[in-house]
Symmetry: C2
Subunit: 236 residues, 2 copies
């Protein structure tokens, strides 16, 4: 059980819904955000039905659907899980609602988001989608970057245990510690401290690499694991 | 035992020496290249002594030291293992010596190679060091990119079994097949087809990421493994 209140902006999409589902299962309080409140409520309902259909009905699921800024206003952790072309506008529309929240950006500037190849990236002036997010958030808001390389497909299917490290980038150590605890709520995921937020330039691009490997090997759920870490990190 | 003749350009450096050592141990014929023939010969001698000191003296080691272009002239596979600032000039000096060889570029354009941070990259006009290498090699030469993420420290110590996947990028399937067999000669390494040569932009950058993780966790030999591959790929 986590005491964090998590807003998943874009929680109706594949990655957002997958994260919302997993955190719900772990007992966290989830606010699924969408530009369309009705769609957010539908996703919250779908989440409950998905859990119930899984054979383990839980009455204690704490999940609701809200318009994005309403979701952000209630959260201690705001997770951005929207397509790259929508990231800046949505951030501008919700940043006035942040109440001492940590922002976790999951955005990957894939060329595919504007009609290009999924194995290629767009250039972002600030260096990465995460650094763009930092520029668009209120001063003092801790901005982290994570979850780029987790399979959205695997997260949405609670019968699957993901097999992936979550590379977390950011400049706020306390915020990282909070996010590490949220990553550990999801079986199969292990948080790895990848360094400052600027390292998101690399971690974001690794999504395109994994898509390339998925294609070559005709699979859907490639992930990565970091080897050679000390024992205490191995357990997360 | 491999029938390939491998030139390791920059075989006196850490990564080059580590690869030469491992392939020698596997029975491949190695030409250690350096701009200075004497240094190359010294490295070949050091390689032999390293193997003998390891307690398993092998009289059949096929390793010699040569000036770079002499090494390239004798090889079916030419591995570039030089610092990024030296890559272009050395390629220009040896490309006239290629005899139907495959070029394997291992170069990473780390900012540290010109005095910057090891967790940052230089921009390369062609997109990656490997694509720069392709521009500088004779037409028809298959160019691959690999070995960026293997720990040079681990490769040089034959008592260590590396724990790392080798992401291979390139546009020539036959050349990839040859290189895959060379990767498999080294215990602990598994070749992964990462897609076309342009994916080297991402794979090269992952070296900077691993350096960042090494620093955070105070270790030296972080590597990566790809998860979620089909069983036939798991064994390489």
């Amino acid at each position: 059980m986590s005491e964090e209140k998590i807003a998943v902006i874009g929680g109706t999409g594949d990655l957002g819904f997958g994260l919302a589902l997993r955190w719900s299962l772990a007992g966290a309080q989830i606010f699924i955000g969408s530009r369309d409140e009705k769609k957010a409520q539908d996703a919250a309902q779908r989440l409950k039905e998905t859990v119930n259909a899984g054979g383990s009905p839980r009455t204690e699921l704490l999940v609701s659907g809200c318009e994005n800024s309403q979701a952000a206003a209630q959260a201690s952790v705001v997770v951005m899980a929207v397509p790259f072309p929508a990231q800046a506008a949505i951030l501008k529309s919700i940043r006035g609602s942040f109440k001492d929240a940590i922002l976790v950006d999951t955005t990957v500037p894939l060329a595919a988001t504007i009609g290009g190849k999924p194995t290629r990236l767009l250039g972002v002036w600030q260096g990465s989608a995460a650094e763009q997010a930092r520029e668009l958030t209120p001063p003092g808001t801790p901005v982290l970057s994570a979850f780029h390389n987790a399979s959205a497909e695997a997260l949405q299917d609670s019968s699957i245990t993901p097999d992936c490290d979550i590379l977390v980038c950011g400049d706020d150590e306390a915020a990282k510690k909070t996010l590490f605890s949220l990553v550990k709520l999801i079986p199969g995921l292990r948080p790895i401290d990848a360094g400052p937020l600027e390292m998101a330039r690399i971690v974001e691009s690794m999504t395109a690499l994994l898509i390339s490997v998925n294609r070559r090997y005709r699979v859907h759920n490639c992930g990565i694991r970091i080897t050679g870490l000390p024992v205490e990190a191995r357990s997360g």
